[in-house]
């Protein structure tokens, strides 16, 4: 595997999928702008209101990139077969493993980094705008600046790395597998089987283990984190406890299996 081929393959994914950065930047910018009317109308003081506005910004950017990640993965190995460009990509000395892993790298690394950078920038702009308007209104701005910014940002980074990247790896792996396999309607193939398994389990066994498992996967197993609404909510009490959970490693095993299958499928799949 060559690092050059990987780096260029990742770069070309970003060229093709401009929504990777455009979507979060647009959402971040829109929310940052709302802090102007919000502050003028007095909705951003006291500081607790401002901090929930900040949280909404973080959540909105994170939600946006998660949607981008889902659509990106579903199209990554499907679109190139549909438009036959896979025939061009395969004429370049880039192996199928390099191609598939570079596509996995986007939701696992590029999107979390973009989310972090855009969120921090958005929050900083909100801090500046809100401070400016509050001081024009003659209100105190020090409480805003005294918020635990380093802890909030590092908590966000932790959450993005552990949950949105490491915990979601099996989800991205599954979506890439469906994308490499489906001849049409990858979206349906990605979401129907899990839904069907949950429903059948409920009817046959009257249990919800599969649904619970998916729920805990999506929540990133962050049940032990401080209570919701706290600025420190993204920092769990035991940050590395997840490494000791079998579920986490089973998820990675599943992700690795999906990626291997996706690589093998891409190797022999004809354009659609």
């Amino acid at each position: 595997m060559s690092s050059g081929a990987m780096a260029w393959s990742v770069k070309r994914e970003v060229w093709e999928n401009r929504s990777i950065y455009l979507a979060p930047v647009i959402v971040g910018a829109l929310i940052a702008i709302t802090s102007i009317p919000a502050t003028v109308m007095g909705l951003n003081s006291p500081v607790s209101r401002f901090s929930s506005h900040i949280e909404i910004a973080g959540g909105a950017v994170m939600g946006t990139t998660l949607i981008v990640a889902i659509f990106y993965c579903l199209d990554a190995l499907y679109g190139e077969r549909r438009d036959r460009s896979i025939l061009f990509w395969k004429s370049m000395p880039v192996s199928d493993s390099e191609a598939v892993l570079s596509k996995m790298f986007v939701p696992m690394a590029i999107l979390p980094v973009v989310t972090f950078a855009v969120t921090v920038a958005t929050q900083f702009i909100m801090l500046l705008l809100t401070s400016a308007i509050l001081s024009m209104k003659g209100e105190a701005v020090t409480p805003l600046w005294n918020l635990p910014w380093p802890q909030m940002s590092s908590g966000l980074l932790y959450h993005l790395v552990v949950v949105h990247s490491l915990y979601y790896a099996p989800i991205f792996g599954w979506l890439l597998l469906v994308s490499a396999w489906a001849k049409r309607l990858p979206f349906l193939w990605a979401f129907l089987p899990p839904a069907a398994i949950g429903i059948i389990e409920k009817f046959v066994f009257n249990s919800t283990h599969f649904g619970n498992m998916l729920g805990s996967l999506i929540s990133g197993g962050m049940d032990g984190s401080p209570k919701k609404g706290s600025l420190m909510m993204l920092w769990p009490a035991h940050p590395f406890e997840f490494l000791g959970r079998p579920g986490f490693w089973i998820g990675w095993l599943f992700a690795a299996t999906c990626l291997t299958a996706a690589i093998l499928l891409r190797r022999g799949r004809d354009p659609i």
Binding site: W15, R84, L87, F88
Partner: protein, 285 residues
């Protein structure tokens, strides 16, 4: 030997696409692989390019294409079809990417070829005409210092000017006698003069192969007026057709002197032989 295929078989379900293909191609040859639709041309090329698994023995430049496609692509360039360049990509990005991943890609050379066209560096592929996309793809593969170039219907759907230009620049700017080119096309007449070898494929089998030299010395085309047709037919032509009241016959191993007495002797056309071979052998799979 650049390509060495022995007994290549490939089936899709119950449809046999390749039924024991043997093909040997030496360095410096320009080989035309010609066959009707569904004959197995593309499947054969896909096997050679490592795009599809197969049964049988196949080495390309000494490697197994299926297990080492990405390594093989250092030495093999191909245009699999018209319009497979990603439509979203910019010309400059395409050059950046090729330069980044391909150790034998010469960017300056590609820029040189593009300078002769109207293609703008910042244009996206989807903004280019079909002919320009083919020019772009050709510029890209000609800038790769490959030992084998594979072209599958590279000019399909292009107008005659582009098609002519395409093959002209392939011969003048790319081919240097040490490279090898394998090309498939429906427009047999257009490539007849650039080929060194020709291979006909039908029903997944090689049904005819010859060097062009051998082809031209072995076959002749005889144009005879109606009153001499009977005499000409006695020579057992492989194929016969009527054009404007005269008969055009394809004769194998004919004697030039004897034929000249009957009518006009011409260089044989590949298209004519192709039709003759397909009609005789094509009916029985």
């Amino acid at each position: 030997m650049v390509i060495d295929a022995r007994g290549i078989r490939k089936a899709f379900g119950s449809t046999v696409a390749l039924d024991g293909v043997d093909l040997q191609v030496d360095e410096g040859r320009i080989v035309g692989l010609i066959g009707p639709n569904g004959a197995g041309k593309t499947t054969a090329l896909n096997a050679i390019l490592g795009l599809t698994p197969y049964q049988g023995q196949l080495t390309v430049l000494g490697r197994d294409p299926w297990t080492s496609r990405s390594r093989l692509m250092h030495d093999v360039a191909y245009i699999a079809d018209v319009a497979v360049l990603p439509r979203w990509i910019r010309v400059s990005q395409l050059l950046d990417f090729a330069g980044g991943v391909h150790p034998r890609f010469d960017r300056a050379k590609a820029e040189g070829f593009l300078a002769k066209t109207a293609i703008r560096r910042n244009a996206r592929v989807r903004e280019l005409s079909k002919g320009m996309v083919a020019q772009l793809h050709l510029a890209l593969v000609m800038a790769i210092d490959a030992r084998l170039l594979v072209l599958d219907e590279p000019t399909l759907g292009l107008d005659i000017l582009f098609r002519k230009q395409f093959y002209d620049s392939l011969l003048n700017d790319y081919f240097d006698g040490s490279r090898t080119i394998l090309v498939t096309t429906h427009q047999v007449e257009e490539i007849q003069d650039i080929l060194t070898d020709v291979v006909f494929i039908n029903h997944g089998r090689i049904v005819f192969r010859s060097s062009m030299e051998e082809f031209e010395s072995r076959y002749l085309e005889l144009v005879v007026p109606p009153d001499r047709v009977a005499a000409a037919r006695a020579l057992r032509p492989l194929h016969e057709r009527q054009v404007l009241g005269r008969s055009i016959l394809l004769i194998e191993n004919g004697d030039r002197q004897q034929l000249a007495a009957l009518g006009e002797v011409r260089k044989p056309s590949l298209a004519e032989l192709f039709v003759a071979v397909m009609e005789s052998k094509g009916a029985t799979p």
